[in-house]
């Protein structure tokens, strides 16, 4: 997030897209509810009628994959009506003209035709967002232009044009000067406890800790020096989905999986399974024998986050302490301790410098102290300084208070750059054989591949098994009633589950969460066309067909 969670309650206008906030990030939805009760406008753009729509003052429901037309048309209207922030554009940004030129063709008429969203709703959303208008009561900011904030999540990113979607929202915020101030900004709601931190400390193919490019000789050299190694690899590595393809092609021979369950969470599960069966070595380090574990050669028992010390970095870039609450079961160990054990042995066997002694860490805090040396955005942090509320990066020095709001006064790169983006269609469109669109996501009571929540007694009681949400119109066409068995077919595979007939999805769209091992949604999703830059799979759009097994 460019801004902080607790600023949301003071926003004048909140624009949410691609985030089912009340189910996937409930505590952030509380902030949204508070803002709306105080008079903020709430605009939701989503193909599903998500629970938070009950509080929205404006709901736009585009057909899946067409939201980009709505975003572009909003900006078209903002420029046409002169609602943009000309001072901000002139002083803080660059490449505005080329960007604005592209928008000329993206009229609300065209967006309405593509997305099914009425023109007047697009115009209304454009005005409220651009000017930060409220439904009632006064802004705490007392400025001519109210403060508008954008919240988004995987609904716009797990798409073959996910990067374009994010750039478009960034363009929108700069166009209206809705960034670099409290209660504004472009705010991705991140879905996993430490997904932000795993990225920050270099768990990515192209960057070392602190987002330092692996291709940059100078930065790579500095990290190598701190680590006392002669050299570090300089080629960008393979992402998750690419590595599955490479395993099938015989290029990847071993995969070491820590705390992940690709058999449930990666697209095209049948393909993943085929790849994993080909491996010479699959190491699974986890807290449970996950679906992936049943293909592994070796299982390493890990402590859960309730059973160890360390830090997590949340969606607002806040690094916070986690503490050992209970002891780990049996012989399970903290992940860092297992990795250090393996690393020491492998460095010995491969005769790597600086040798096994370099892998002797006595505590999580000693590892944190080392990581601050090579992670510039964390360099002013220490366990002591993280008391009691953590610190938000960047925190470059020991006296720096952390950064609740990014891009104040100037952007990280200097001037904010407008990127001209064109609308693109999803990779897999519906056709006669697969006439419906499947979209995947989460339900309130479960988390990711269900490894933890499905083993929690109260959560299991409330939501014991999987179901596909189907619009009454589509259900009726197949003679399906609520709670009936249904078979879902895609070009990749087949899943059998129960129906939940619901207006929450529009006609033509089916929703299936990816928590259910008995109905694994990712047997249906595609892995052939990823976003070209982020390499993210298009989980949100797959062409499918429904079958009523009783009609056989």
């Amino acid at each position: 997030m460019t801004n902080s969670v607790r600023e949301i309650r003071d926003a004048d206008c909140i624009f949410i897209t691609g985030s089912n906030t009340a189910e996937a990030h409930p505590v952030i939805s509380y902030e949204v509810v508070r803002a709306v009760k105080k008079g903020a406008h709430l605009i939701i753009i989503d193909p599903r009628r998500i629970p938070l729509v009950d509080h929205a003052t404006l709901f736009l429901q585009p057909h899946p994959g067409t939201d980009i037309y709505v975003f572009l048309a909003m900006m078209h209207v903002i420029i046409r009506e002169g609602w943009m922030d000309e001072t901000f554009i002139a002083e803080r940004t660059e490449d505005y003209d080329a960007f604005a030129a592209i928008l000329e063709g993206y009229t609300p008429e065209r967006a309405a035709l593509a997305s099914g969203v009425p023109e007047e709703k697009i115009i209304q959303a454009a005005r409220w967002y651009a000017l930060g208008e409220r439904s009632h009561d006064e802004s705490i900011y007392g400025e001519a232009r109210g403060h508008s904030t954008i919240l988004y999540a995987m609904g716009i990113t797990q798409r073959s044009n996910g990067t374009d979607n994010v750039i478009t929202l960034a363009n929108l915020s700069m166009l209206c000067g809705q960034i670099g101030k409290p209660s504004t900004g472009v705010n991705p709601l991140r879905g996993q406890a430490n997904v932000q931190g795993a990225c920050d400390v270099g768990g990515l193919v192209n960057v070392l800790p602190g987002y330092q490019q692996v291709t940059d000789d100078k930065l790579r050299g500095e990290t190598a020096k701190t680590w006392e190694v002669e050299q570090l690899p300089c080629d960008v590595g393979l992402t998750i989905v690419e590595s599955t393809h490479a395993a099938l092609a015989g290029e990847i021979h071993a995969i070491y999986v820590m705390g992940e369950n690709p058999m449930m969470s990666d697209p095209n599960s049948n393909h993943v399974e085929e790849a994993f069966r080909k491996l010479d070595l699959l190491i699974v380090q986890d807290i449970f024998p996950s679906e992936t574990a049943y293909l592994a050669h070796v299982l390493l028992p890990a402590a859960s986050s309730l059973e160890k010390d360390g830090t997590f970095t949340n969606t607002e870039r806040r690094v916070q302490r986690i503490r050992k609450v209970i002891p780990p079961p049996g012989e399970a160990l903290a992940d860092w301790s297992i990795i250090a054990g393996i690393a020491a042995r492998v460095s010995q066997k491969l005769d790597r410098k600086p040798g096994p002694e370099a892998w002797k860490y006595d505590s999580a805090s000693s590892i944190f102290d080392e990581l601050t040396l090579v992670t510039p955005i964390y360099s002013g942090m220490s366990y002591d300084r993280l008391e009691p509320s953590g610190l938000q990066w960047p925190c470059p020095s020991e006296t720096h208070p952390g950064t609740p709001i990014l891009h104040v006064g100037t952007f990280a790169r200097g001037q904010g750059k407008f990127h001209a983006v064109e609308a693109r269609d999803p990779a897999e469109l519906t056709d006669d054989e697969y006439p419906l669109t499947l979209t995947t996501g989460r339900v309130l009571y479960h988390y990711h591949s269900g490894t933890m929540t499905r083993r929690s007694a109260p959560l299991h009681w409330r939501e014991p098994r999987g179901y596909a949400e189907i619009n009454p119109q589509d259900a009726e066409a197949l003679g399906l009633k609520d709670g009936f068995a249904v078979i879902i077919h895609s070009r990749r595979g087949t899943v059998r589950t129960k129906t939940k007939i619901s207006d929450g999805v529009p006609p033509g769209t089916v929703f299936l969460a990816f928590h259910w091992r008995e109905a694994p949604a990712n047997r249906l999703t595609q892995d052939h066309t990823l976003d070209p830059i982020a390499k993210i799979p298009e989980y949100k759009i797959s062409a499918i067909r429904l079958e009523n097994p009783r009609a056989r």
């Binding site: 406890a193 590595g237 290029e251 021979h253 010479d280 302490r321 393996i342 860490y361």
Partner: protein
């Protein structure tokens, strides 16, 4: 800023601040049961009465906006008598069975009864006839302990936004109920338990803590939730190395005093009997290493189709040394025979910064590849 005086202390507060908040924020204690800093003002409990210079009658401090030059007294004989009278009414229909109550030690009504020296009511004690409701595994509703402060109703509507409960019936029969008093699961309730957290008495209690120990028996550890990325701080109450219940701390950085259902109730996975407790080698691997006698082959059934997975059918337990030696030998052999880029590491958004940092350092500095990714995109 507004300047006022409370108990002779000069205090500065922002405009539109109520006197109760002004006092509490400045370390001046005024008893209150229905007021909560994150919720709208109810004024129903009548406990937070104060004296305002120039006014004949005591005033509710929660509903009184601080004004320039205001002079407030929070303690006096008159106020003590009034508060005792209010508390006397509260305990007239509240069971005084603190000796067996799980909330003892953290019950606000008990705290005030102690503070004002009330050990029994001067009225004829009458306990609410509304039923005890245990219709879900998240929390219990025991209406005889309810003092109708309405905090639960307000948090459900004003913060969570689902308005699953409200006041039902009238007069002495008033109770907090779902529509038509149906089971919780049939209401709009999302089982977040924020009502339980703001409840000042034992009317709403987490199921997990019943008969599991009293406040003074419990240890508390502040940590961060392991589910989504909001990063809610959670205070876990434990006894003998077991979690008894979880709640939000008083000032969570991102979450304030609130949590969702997964954070508050979804921690019991940790003690599931299915947890991996020791390193294990697959049966074919173990056989090849001479650790088992039976030859074995990986079945063709997809892991997604195994009906009742049993890890011991596929794996045999080994000690850490055997497991680490196997892993490190195989990784070294494959690195040497096929090159570092034939190895892929998948780190985790569920592991700590320290875990992930070491993982990527291992892949880059020891194996020698940038094939290191995690579930950020999934």
């Amino acid at each position: 800023m507004i300047t006022l005086s409370i108990d002779t202390k000069t205090i500065q507060v922002a405009p539109d601040t109520n006197v109760l908040k002004a006092a509490l924020d400045n370390g001046i204690h005024i008893p209150h049961l229905c007021y909560h800093p994150d919720l709208s003002i109810s004024g129903g409990c009548r406990l937070c009465l104060v004296e305002v210079e120039g006014q004949d009658q005591p005033v509710l401090s929660c509903g009184l906006t601080a004004a320039e030059g205001m002079v407030i007294q929070t303690q006096s004989e008159q106020l003590t008598e009034l508060r005792r009278g209010v508390l006397d009414l509260f305990i007239s229909d509240h069971p005084l069975d603190c000796v067996v109550c799980d909330k003892a030690g953290s019950c606000t009504l008990q705290e005030y009864a102690y503070e004002y020296g009330l050990k029994e009511t001067s009225y004829e004690p009458t306990v609410s006839s509304a039923l005890f409701q245990d219709d879900n595994p998240f929390f219990l509703r025991d209406h005889q302990y309810c003092i109708l402060c309405g905090r639960c109703v307000r948090v459900c509507d004003e913060i969570v936004g689902v308005h699953a409960i409200d006041f039902a019936n009238r007069g002495f029969e008033t109770n907090i109920a779902t529509p038509y008093d149906g089971p919780m699961i049939d209401s709009t309730c999302v089982f977040c338990g924020n009502c339980v957290q703001v409840c000042p008495t034992a009317a709403l209690m987490p199921v997990s803590r019943l008969q599991r120990g009293r406040e003074w028996d419990l240890d508390r550890t502040l940590s961060v939730c392991g589910y989504c990325g909001v990063g809610c701080q959670i205070e876990y109450a434990t006894k003998d190395n077991a979690i008894i219940y979880a709640q939000a701390p008083e000032h969570g950085a991102a979450n304030g005093t609130f949590l969702c259902t997964k954070g508050r109730y979804g921690w019991d996975f940790a003690t599931s009997p299915e947890r991996l407790k020791q390193p294990m080698l697959r049966r074919d691997v173990a056989h090849k290493l001479g650790l088992t006698e039976e030859p074995w082959e990986l079945p063709e059934t997809s892991p997604l189709d195994i009906r009742n997975p049993n890890v011991e059918q596929y794996f045999v337990p080994v000690d850490w040394d055997t497991a680490l030696e196997f892993v490190s030998s195989r990784l070294s052999e494959i690195t040497e025979s096929h090159g570092p880029d034939s190895i892929m590491g998948l780190a985790s958004a569920r592991c700590t910064n320290e875990d992930n940092y070491l993982f990527q350092k291992f892949m880059r500095a020891v194996i020698g590849t940038n094939n290191i990714d995690h579930c950020a995109r999934l």
